[in-house]
Amino acid sequence: MRQKAHELLSSGAVGAVLAWEKGELPYDTSPAVFRDAEALDKMVYNGFCGSNLSKYLIEQGKQDEKVLVFLKPCDTYSLNQLLSENRVAREKLHIIGIGCKGKLDVEKLRTQGIKGITGIEENETLKIQTLYGDHELPREDVLLEKCLSCKGKDHKVYDELIGEDLSADTEQGDKYAKVAELEGQTPAERFAFWRGELSKCIRCNACRNTCPSCTCLKCVFDNAHSGVAAKVNATEFEENMFHIIRAFHVAGRCSDCGECSRVCPQGIPIHLLNRKFIKDISGFYGEFQAGETAELNSPLLCYDLEDAEPNIISKREGDN
Protein backbone atom coordinates (compact mmCIF):
# COMPACT_ATOMS: atom_id res chain seq x y z
CA MET A 1 0.00 0.00 0.00
CA ARG A 2 2.66 2.42 1.01
CA GLN A 3 4.62 1.64 -2.12
CA LYS A 4 1.60 2.27 -4.31
CA ALA A 5 0.87 5.53 -2.51
CA HIS A 6 4.47 6.55 -2.86
CA GLU A 7 4.38 5.79 -6.54
CA LEU A 8 1.23 7.76 -7.27
CA LEU A 9 2.15 10.68 -5.05
CA SER A 10 5.66 11.14 -6.33
CA SER A 11 4.61 10.74 -9.94
CA GLY A 12 2.07 13.48 -9.43
CA ALA A 13 -0.77 11.21 -10.48
CA VAL A 14 -2.46 12.16 -7.24
CA GLY A 15 -2.00 15.28 -5.16
CA ALA A 16 -2.87 13.74 -1.86
CA VAL A 17 -3.19 10.36 -0.22
CA LEU A 18 -5.95 9.75 2.28
CA ALA A 19 -5.01 6.89 4.56
CA TRP A 20 -4.28 6.14 8.19
CA GLU A 21 -1.36 7.42 10.20
CA LYS A 22 0.17 5.51 13.05
CA GLY A 23 -0.16 7.07 16.44
CA GLU A 24 1.58 7.15 19.76
CA LEU A 25 0.03 4.00 21.14
CA PRO A 26 -0.42 0.58 19.60
CA TYR A 27 -3.98 1.33 18.65
CA ASP A 28 -4.42 5.05 18.08
CA THR A 29 -4.31 5.35 14.30
CA SER A 30 -5.74 8.53 12.82
CA PRO A 31 -7.05 9.24 9.37
CA ALA A 32 -4.52 11.48 7.69
CA VAL A 33 -3.86 13.28 4.46
CA PHE A 34 -0.39 12.80 3.06
CA ARG A 35 0.89 15.31 0.55
CA ASP A 36 4.52 14.52 0.94
CA ALA A 37 5.92 11.18 -0.17
CA GLU A 38 8.41 11.29 2.68
CA ALA A 39 5.67 11.44 5.25
CA LEU A 40 4.23 8.17 3.99
CA ASP A 41 6.52 6.38 6.42
CA LYS A 42 3.92 7.16 9.01
CA MET A 43 1.18 5.53 7.00
CA VAL A 44 -0.22 2.40 8.54
CA TYR A 45 -2.88 -0.20 7.90
CA ASN A 46 -3.72 -2.50 10.73
CA GLY A 47 -6.58 -3.82 12.79
CA PHE A 48 -7.23 -0.44 14.32
CA CYS A 49 -7.98 1.31 11.05
CA GLY A 50 -11.70 0.98 11.62
CA SER A 51 -12.49 4.54 10.72
CA ASN A 52 -14.28 5.06 7.45
CA LEU A 53 -12.33 7.45 5.26
CA SER A 54 -15.02 8.12 2.72
CA LYS A 55 -16.49 11.16 4.42
CA TYR A 56 -13.13 12.91 4.45
CA LEU A 57 -13.33 13.00 0.68
CA ILE A 58 -15.97 15.71 0.82
CA GLU A 59 -13.38 18.06 2.26
CA GLN A 60 -10.34 16.64 0.55
CA GLY A 61 -12.11 16.46 -2.80
CA LYS A 62 -12.47 20.22 -2.92
CA GLN A 63 -8.98 20.82 -4.20
CA ASP A 64 -8.18 20.78 -7.84
CA GLU A 65 -6.31 17.52 -7.72
CA LYS A 66 -6.78 13.81 -7.61
CA VAL A 67 -6.93 12.11 -4.25
CA LEU A 68 -5.82 8.59 -3.61
CA VAL A 69 -7.99 6.95 -1.03
CA PHE A 70 -7.82 3.53 0.54
CA LEU A 71 -11.16 2.00 1.24
CA LYS A 72 -12.19 -1.15 2.99
CA PRO A 73 -15.09 -3.05 1.43
CA CYS A 74 -17.69 -1.58 3.78
CA ASP A 75 -16.35 1.94 3.26
CA THR A 76 -17.12 1.71 -0.45
CA TYR A 77 -20.86 1.64 0.27
CA SER A 78 -20.55 4.97 2.00
CA LEU A 79 -18.59 6.37 -0.88
CA ASN A 80 -21.22 5.24 -3.36
CA GLN A 81 -23.82 7.04 -1.31
CA LEU A 82 -21.72 10.18 -1.34
CA LEU A 83 -21.27 9.86 -5.08
CA SER A 84 -25.00 9.47 -5.58
CA GLU A 85 -25.60 12.72 -3.75
CA ASN A 86 -22.97 14.70 -5.64
CA ARG A 87 -20.96 15.15 -2.51
CA VAL A 88 -17.80 13.82 -4.05
CA ALA A 89 -16.72 13.84 -7.68
CA ARG A 90 -15.74 10.39 -8.83
CA GLU A 91 -13.23 11.72 -11.34
CA LYS A 92 -11.22 13.31 -8.58
CA LEU A 93 -10.66 10.03 -6.82
CA HIS A 94 -8.29 7.20 -7.26
CA ILE A 95 -9.78 4.48 -5.13
CA ILE A 96 -7.74 1.56 -4.00
CA GLY A 97 -9.77 -1.18 -2.43
CA ILE A 98 -8.04 -2.95 0.38
CA GLY A 99 -8.89 -6.14 2.18
CA CYS A 100 -10.20 -6.31 5.68
CA LYS A 101 -10.35 -9.07 8.25
CA GLY A 102 -12.58 -7.11 10.52
CA LYS A 103 -11.35 -4.24 12.62
CA LEU A 104 -10.64 -4.18 16.32
CA ASP A 105 -12.21 -2.29 19.14
CA VAL A 106 -9.86 -1.21 21.87
CA GLU A 107 -12.83 -0.49 24.12
CA LYS A 108 -13.59 -4.19 24.08
CA LEU A 109 -10.15 -4.88 25.46
CA ARG A 110 -10.77 -2.37 28.19
CA THR A 111 -14.14 -3.79 29.13
CA GLN A 112 -12.46 -7.15 29.53
CA GLY A 113 -10.32 -5.55 32.18
CA ILE A 114 -7.21 -5.20 30.07
CA LYS A 115 -5.53 -1.91 30.93
CA GLY A 116 -2.25 -0.19 30.43
CA ILE A 117 -1.86 -1.46 26.89
CA THR A 118 1.62 -0.92 25.58
CA GLY A 119 1.84 -3.34 22.72
CA ILE A 120 -0.43 -5.43 20.50
CA GLU A 121 0.61 -8.18 18.15
CA GLU A 122 -2.09 -8.89 15.63
CA ASN A 123 -2.76 -12.42 14.61
CA GLU A 124 -5.71 -14.74 14.84
CA THR A 125 -4.89 -14.52 18.49
CA LEU A 126 -4.03 -11.11 19.77
CA LYS A 127 -1.01 -10.85 22.00
CA ILE A 128 -1.33 -7.84 24.20
CA GLN A 129 1.43 -6.41 26.31
CA THR A 130 0.39 -4.18 29.15
CA LEU A 131 1.97 -2.42 32.06
CA TYR A 132 0.49 -5.16 34.19
CA GLY A 133 1.40 -8.26 32.24
CA ASP A 134 0.53 -9.95 28.97
CA HIS A 135 -2.78 -11.18 27.65
CA GLU A 136 -3.94 -13.31 24.78
CA LEU A 137 -7.35 -13.05 23.21
CA PRO A 138 -8.97 -14.53 20.12
CA ARG A 139 -9.23 -11.82 17.50
CA GLU A 140 -12.93 -12.37 16.97
CA ASP A 141 -13.66 -11.42 20.57
CA VAL A 142 -12.39 -7.94 20.00
CA LEU A 143 -14.04 -7.06 16.69
CA LEU A 144 -15.84 -3.78 16.31
CA GLU A 145 -19.59 -4.03 16.55
CA LYS A 146 -19.88 -3.13 12.89
CA CYS A 147 -17.68 -6.02 11.89
CA LEU A 148 -20.00 -8.51 13.52
CA SER A 149 -22.38 -8.04 10.64
CA CYS A 150 -19.89 -7.60 7.86
CA LYS A 151 -21.25 -6.75 4.45
CA GLY A 152 -18.70 -9.01 2.83
CA LYS A 153 -15.42 -8.59 1.09
CA ASP A 154 -16.55 -7.06 -2.17
CA HIS A 155 -15.64 -3.50 -2.94
CA LYS A 156 -18.53 -1.70 -4.57
CA VAL A 157 -16.46 1.00 -6.19
CA TYR A 158 -12.73 1.14 -6.88
CA ASP A 159 -10.07 1.82 -9.43
CA GLU A 160 -7.85 -0.97 -8.33
CA LEU A 161 -7.67 -3.57 -5.64
CA ILE A 162 -4.57 -4.27 -3.70
CA GLY A 163 -4.32 -7.86 -3.07
CA GLU A 164 -2.30 -8.61 0.04
CA ASP A 165 -5.20 -10.96 0.36
CA LEU A 166 -6.45 -9.81 3.63
CA SER A 167 -9.94 -10.66 2.55
CA ALA A 168 -11.87 -11.87 5.44
CA ASP A 169 -14.03 -14.89 5.75
CA THR A 170 -16.26 -12.88 7.91
CA GLU A 171 -19.30 -14.42 9.44
CA GLN A 172 -22.52 -12.83 8.35
CA GLY A 173 -24.10 -12.18 11.69
CA ASP A 174 -27.80 -11.43 11.75
CA LYS A 175 -27.65 -7.69 11.79
CA TYR A 176 -31.28 -7.39 12.72
CA ALA A 177 -31.10 -9.70 15.72
CA LYS A 178 -30.99 -6.96 18.32
CA VAL A 179 -33.58 -4.85 16.50
CA ALA A 180 -35.89 -7.83 16.36
CA GLU A 181 -35.30 -8.54 20.00
CA LEU A 182 -36.32 -5.00 20.90
CA GLU A 183 -39.32 -5.20 18.61
CA GLY A 184 -40.39 -8.24 20.52
CA GLN A 185 -40.44 -6.38 23.80
CA THR A 186 -43.29 -4.36 25.20
CA PRO A 187 -43.32 -0.64 24.53
CA ALA A 188 -42.52 -0.06 28.20
CA GLU A 189 -39.45 -2.28 27.97
CA ARG A 190 -38.32 -0.63 24.79
CA PHE A 191 -38.86 2.75 26.33
CA ALA A 192 -36.78 1.78 29.32
CA PHE A 193 -34.02 0.40 27.11
CA TRP A 194 -33.77 3.52 24.98
CA ARG A 195 -34.05 5.87 27.90
CA GLY A 196 -31.15 4.09 29.49
CA GLU A 197 -29.11 4.45 26.35
CA LEU A 198 -30.10 7.86 25.10
CA SER A 199 -29.85 9.47 28.50
CA LYS A 200 -26.12 8.90 28.24
CA CYS A 201 -25.89 11.13 25.20
CA ILE A 202 -23.66 14.14 25.78
CA ARG A 203 -24.52 15.61 22.42
CA CYS A 204 -20.94 15.64 21.28
CA ASN A 205 -22.19 15.13 17.73
CA ALA A 206 -19.50 12.57 17.01
CA CYS A 207 -22.10 10.20 15.55
CA ARG A 208 -23.30 12.90 13.23
CA ASN A 209 -19.95 14.28 12.29
CA THR A 210 -18.47 10.94 11.45
CA CYS A 211 -21.50 9.75 9.53
CA PRO A 212 -20.82 9.62 5.81
CA SER A 213 -24.50 10.24 5.16
CA CYS A 214 -24.68 13.32 7.36
CA THR A 215 -23.36 15.74 4.83
CA CYS A 216 -25.43 18.85 5.34
CA LEU A 217 -23.40 22.01 5.18
CA LYS A 218 -25.16 23.05 8.33
CA CYS A 219 -27.12 20.59 10.37
CA VAL A 220 -30.62 21.69 11.42
CA PHE A 221 -29.47 21.21 14.97
CA ASP A 222 -26.69 23.76 14.48
CA ASN A 223 -28.73 26.26 12.56
CA ALA A 224 -30.01 28.98 14.84
CA HIS A 225 -32.74 29.75 12.34
CA SER A 226 -34.11 26.22 12.08
CA GLY A 227 -36.13 26.47 15.26
CA VAL A 228 -34.74 23.20 16.60
CA ALA A 229 -31.12 24.15 17.09
CA ALA A 230 -29.63 23.09 20.38
CA LYS A 231 -26.12 22.66 21.65
CA VAL A 232 -27.07 20.27 24.38
CA ASN A 233 -29.85 17.91 25.22
CA ALA A 234 -31.57 20.01 27.79
CA THR A 235 -34.23 17.40 28.47
CA GLU A 236 -35.09 13.80 27.70
CA PHE A 237 -37.16 15.05 24.84
CA GLU A 238 -34.19 16.66 23.19
CA GLU A 239 -32.20 13.45 23.54
CA ASN A 240 -34.98 11.59 21.81
CA MET A 241 -35.50 14.22 19.18
CA PHE A 242 -31.87 14.47 18.22
CA HIS A 243 -31.55 10.76 17.74
CA ILE A 244 -34.86 10.26 15.99
CA ILE A 245 -34.25 13.06 13.55
CA ARG A 246 -30.64 12.16 13.00
CA ALA A 247 -31.66 8.63 12.13
CA PHE A 248 -34.58 9.81 10.04
CA HIS A 249 -32.44 12.16 8.03
CA VAL A 250 -30.16 9.32 7.05
CA ALA A 251 -32.97 6.80 6.58
CA GLY A 252 -32.69 5.26 3.16
CA ARG A 253 -29.22 6.72 2.84
CA CYS A 254 -27.46 5.02 5.71
CA SER A 255 -25.30 2.17 4.49
CA ASP A 256 -25.01 0.78 8.01
CA CYS A 257 -21.28 1.46 8.21
CA GLY A 258 -21.53 1.46 11.98
CA GLU A 259 -19.29 4.46 12.51
CA CYS A 260 -21.89 6.18 14.69
CA SER A 261 -21.70 3.50 17.31
CA ARG A 262 -17.97 3.12 16.99
CA VAL A 263 -17.31 6.78 17.74
CA CYS A 264 -19.84 7.26 20.50
CA PRO A 265 -17.84 8.05 23.62
CA GLN A 266 -20.76 6.90 25.71
CA GLY A 267 -21.16 3.56 23.99
CA ILE A 268 -24.73 4.20 22.85
CA PRO A 269 -25.74 1.62 20.23
CA ILE A 270 -26.78 4.31 17.79
CA HIS A 271 -26.64 1.90 14.87
CA LEU A 272 -29.70 0.16 16.29
CA LEU A 273 -31.74 3.21 15.32
CA ASN A 274 -30.39 3.22 11.80
CA ARG A 275 -30.88 -0.50 11.50
CA LYS A 276 -34.46 -0.17 12.56
CA PHE A 277 -35.05 2.06 9.57
CA ILE A 278 -33.08 -0.24 7.31
CA LYS A 279 -35.08 -3.21 8.53
CA ASP A 280 -38.36 -1.38 8.04
CA ILE A 281 -37.41 -0.09 4.61
CA SER A 282 -36.30 -3.51 3.47
CA GLY A 283 -39.37 -5.08 4.98
CA PHE A 284 -41.91 -2.62 3.66
CA TYR A 285 -40.46 -1.54 0.35
CA GLY A 286 -38.17 -4.34 -0.69
CA GLU A 287 -34.63 -5.30 0.20
CA PHE A 288 -32.46 -2.23 0.09
CA GLN A 289 -28.81 -1.58 0.74
CA ALA A 290 -27.76 2.04 0.43
CA GLY A 291 -24.51 2.49 -1.43
CA GLU A 292 -24.77 -0.81 -3.29
CA THR A 293 -24.30 1.34 -6.40
CA ALA A 294 -23.91 5.06 -6.88
CA GLU A 295 -27.11 5.15 -8.89
CA LEU A 296 -29.51 3.94 -6.22
CA ASN A 297 -32.21 6.27 -5.01
CA SER A 298 -33.21 6.34 -1.40
CA PRO A 299 -36.55 4.59 -0.88
CA LEU A 300 -37.76 7.81 0.67
CA LEU A 301 -37.32 9.56 -2.65
CA CYS A 302 -39.67 7.24 -4.44
CA TYR A 303 -42.87 5.38 -3.74
CA ASP A 304 -45.10 2.64 -4.91
CA LEU A 305 -48.81 3.06 -5.37
CA GLU A 306 -49.33 -0.08 -3.35
CA ASP A 307 -47.13 0.87 -0.40
CA ALA A 308 -48.23 -0.32 2.99
CA GLU A 309 -50.19 2.02 5.23
CA PRO A 310 -48.61 2.99 8.57
CA ASN A 311 -50.85 0.56 10.41
CA ILE A 312 -48.55 -2.14 9.07
CA ILE A 313 -46.56 -1.48 12.22
CA SER A 314 -49.34 -2.83 14.37
CA LYS A 315 -50.08 -5.69 12.04
CA ARG A 316 -46.50 -6.75 11.88
CA GLU A 317 -45.69 -6.83 15.50
CA GLY A 318 -48.87 -8.05 17.00
CA ASP A 319 -50.43 -6.41 19.98
CA ASN A 320 -47.75 -6.16 22.56
Binding site: E189, F191, E236, M241, I244, I245, F248, K276, F284, P299
Partner: protein, 146 residues
Protein backbone atom coordinates in the same frame (compact mmCIF):
# COMPACT_ATOMS: atom_id res chain seq x y z
CA UNK B 1 -54.45 -0.51 32.44
CA UNK B 2 -54.43 2.81 34.14
CA UNK B 3 -57.52 4.31 35.57
CA UNK B 4 -59.22 6.60 33.15
CA UNK B 5 -58.99 10.17 34.27
CA UNK B 6 -62.29 11.79 33.44
CA UNK B 7 -60.78 15.25 33.54
CA UNK B 8 -57.98 14.39 31.17
CA UNK B 9 -58.40 16.24 27.89
CA UNK B 10 -56.00 14.84 25.33
CA UNK B 11 -54.54 17.55 23.14
CA UNK B 12 -54.46 16.57 19.49
CA UNK B 13 -52.63 18.33 16.70
CA UNK B 14 -54.26 17.48 13.43
CA UNK B 15 -52.43 18.39 10.25
CA UNK B 16 -54.81 18.66 7.32
CA UNK B 17 -53.89 19.06 3.70
CA UNK B 18 -55.56 22.03 2.13
CA UNK B 19 -57.22 20.19 -0.72
CA UNK B 20 -58.86 17.17 0.83
CA UNK B 21 -58.72 16.83 4.57
CA UNK B 22 -59.05 20.49 5.46
CA UNK B 23 -62.08 20.63 3.23
CA UNK B 24 -63.27 17.41 4.83
CA UNK B 25 -62.96 19.09 8.21
CA UNK B 26 -64.85 22.08 6.86
CA UNK B 27 -67.57 19.74 5.71
CA UNK B 28 -67.69 18.15 9.15
CA UNK B 29 -68.25 21.65 10.43
CA UNK B 30 -70.89 22.66 7.97
CA UNK B 31 -72.63 19.34 8.65
CA UNK B 32 -72.52 20.22 12.37
CA UNK B 33 -70.81 16.93 13.22
CA UNK B 34 -69.27 17.04 16.65
CA UNK B 35 -65.79 16.00 17.57
CA UNK B 36 -63.75 16.93 20.62
CA UNK B 37 -62.53 20.50 20.89
CA UNK B 38 -59.11 19.19 21.89
CA UNK B 39 -58.50 18.55 18.20
CA UNK B 40 -56.73 21.56 16.73
CA UNK B 41 -56.24 21.70 13.01
CA UNK B 42 -53.22 23.09 11.20
CA UNK B 43 -53.61 23.76 7.52
CA UNK B 44 -50.81 22.68 5.25
CA UNK B 45 -50.72 22.55 1.46
CA UNK B 46 -50.19 18.81 1.30
CA UNK B 47 -49.65 16.05 3.79
CA UNK B 48 -46.13 15.77 2.39
CA UNK B 49 -45.37 19.12 3.98
CA UNK B 50 -45.38 17.47 7.41
CA UNK B 51 -41.84 17.22 8.60
CA UNK B 52 -41.12 14.65 11.31
CA UNK B 53 -39.85 17.64 13.25
CA UNK B 54 -43.37 19.04 13.37
CA UNK B 55 -44.71 15.81 14.79
CA UNK B 56 -42.04 15.71 17.45
CA UNK B 57 -42.53 19.40 18.14
CA UNK B 58 -46.17 18.82 18.89
CA UNK B 59 -45.34 16.06 21.35
CA UNK B 60 -42.63 18.18 22.90
CA UNK B 61 -45.03 21.01 23.50
CA UNK B 62 -47.58 18.81 25.17
CA UNK B 63 -49.67 17.18 22.47
CA UNK B 64 -51.01 13.78 23.43
CA UNK B 65 -51.56 12.70 19.88
CA UNK B 66 -50.69 13.80 16.37
CA UNK B 67 -52.74 12.91 13.36
CA UNK B 68 -51.88 13.72 9.79
CA UNK B 69 -54.66 13.83 7.25
CA UNK B 70 -54.18 13.81 3.52
CA UNK B 71 -55.94 13.04 0.29
CA UNK B 72 -56.57 9.40 -0.45
CA UNK B 73 -53.75 7.72 -2.33
CA UNK B 74 -54.17 8.58 -5.96
CA UNK B 75 -56.11 11.74 -5.24
CA UNK B 76 -53.28 14.02 -4.17
CA UNK B 77 -53.67 17.48 -5.57
CA UNK B 78 -49.97 17.36 -6.29
CA UNK B 79 -50.12 13.82 -7.72
CA UNK B 80 -47.66 12.13 -5.44
CA UNK B 81 -47.33 14.04 -2.17
CA UNK B 82 -49.29 11.63 -0.05
CA UNK B 83 -47.25 8.69 -1.29
CA UNK B 84 -44.14 10.32 0.14
CA UNK B 85 -46.05 11.10 3.30
CA UNK B 86 -47.05 7.49 3.60
CA UNK B 87 -43.48 6.24 3.45
CA UNK B 88 -42.11 8.93 5.72
CA UNK B 89 -44.76 8.60 8.36
CA UNK B 90 -44.78 4.82 8.31
CA UNK B 91 -41.09 4.90 9.08
CA UNK B 92 -41.38 7.68 11.63
CA UNK B 93 -44.26 6.05 13.46
CA UNK B 94 -42.44 2.77 13.44
CA UNK B 95 -39.39 4.45 14.94
CA UNK B 96 -41.44 6.11 17.65
CA UNK B 97 -42.96 2.74 18.43
CA UNK B 98 -39.48 1.25 18.53
CA UNK B 99 -38.48 3.82 21.10
CA UNK B 100 -41.41 2.77 23.20
CA UNK B 101 -43.67 5.72 22.40
CA UNK B 102 -47.20 4.33 22.23
CA UNK B 103 -48.06 3.84 18.58
CA UNK B 104 -51.67 4.87 19.14
CA UNK B 105 -50.50 8.43 19.61
CA UNK B 106 -49.65 8.86 15.97
CA UNK B 107 -51.90 8.32 13.04
CA UNK B 108 -52.07 8.93 9.32
CA UNK B 109 -55.49 9.08 7.74
CA UNK B 110 -56.80 9.71 4.27
CA UNK B 111 -59.82 11.98 4.37
CA UNK B 112 -61.32 13.37 1.21
CA UNK B 113 -63.14 16.65 0.87
CA UNK B 114 -66.39 14.73 0.79
CA UNK B 115 -65.72 12.78 3.96
CA UNK B 116 -66.85 15.22 6.60
CA UNK B 117 -68.50 12.44 8.52
CA UNK B 118 -65.40 10.34 8.33
CA UNK B 119 -63.27 13.21 9.54
CA UNK B 120 -65.43 13.60 12.61
CA UNK B 121 -65.47 9.86 13.18
CA UNK B 122 -61.71 9.54 12.89
CA UNK B 123 -61.18 12.42 15.31
CA UNK B 124 -63.63 10.94 17.79
CA UNK B 125 -61.98 7.57 17.59
CA UNK B 126 -58.52 8.99 17.92
CA UNK B 127 -59.35 11.15 20.90
CA UNK B 128 -61.22 8.24 22.45
CA UNK B 129 -58.14 6.07 22.18
CA UNK B 130 -55.94 8.78 23.66
CA UNK B 131 -58.40 9.13 26.46
CA UNK B 132 -57.87 5.50 27.30
CA UNK B 133 -54.13 5.85 27.16
CA UNK B 134 -53.81 8.98 29.21
CA UNK B 135 -51.32 11.79 28.88
CA UNK B 136 -48.22 11.63 26.75
CA UNK B 137 -45.52 11.07 29.31
CA UNK B 138 -42.83 9.54 27.18
CA UNK B 139 -42.26 12.19 24.55
CA UNK B 140 -43.04 15.45 26.27
CA UNK B 141 -40.56 18.11 27.23
CA UNK B 142 -40.55 18.70 30.94
CA UNK B 143 -39.88 22.39 30.41
CA UNK B 144 -43.13 22.82 28.55
CA UNK B 145 -45.24 21.43 31.36
CA UNK B 146 -46.76 23.91 33.72
Amino acid sequence: MQVKDQNFKPLVVSFCCNWCSYAGADLAGSSRLEYPAEVKIIRIPCSCRVDPLFVLRAFQRGADGVIINGCHPGDCHYTSGNYFTRRRMTLLFSMLDYLGIERERTRLEWVSAAEGARFAKVMNEFVGKLHEMGANKRLGDIRCKE
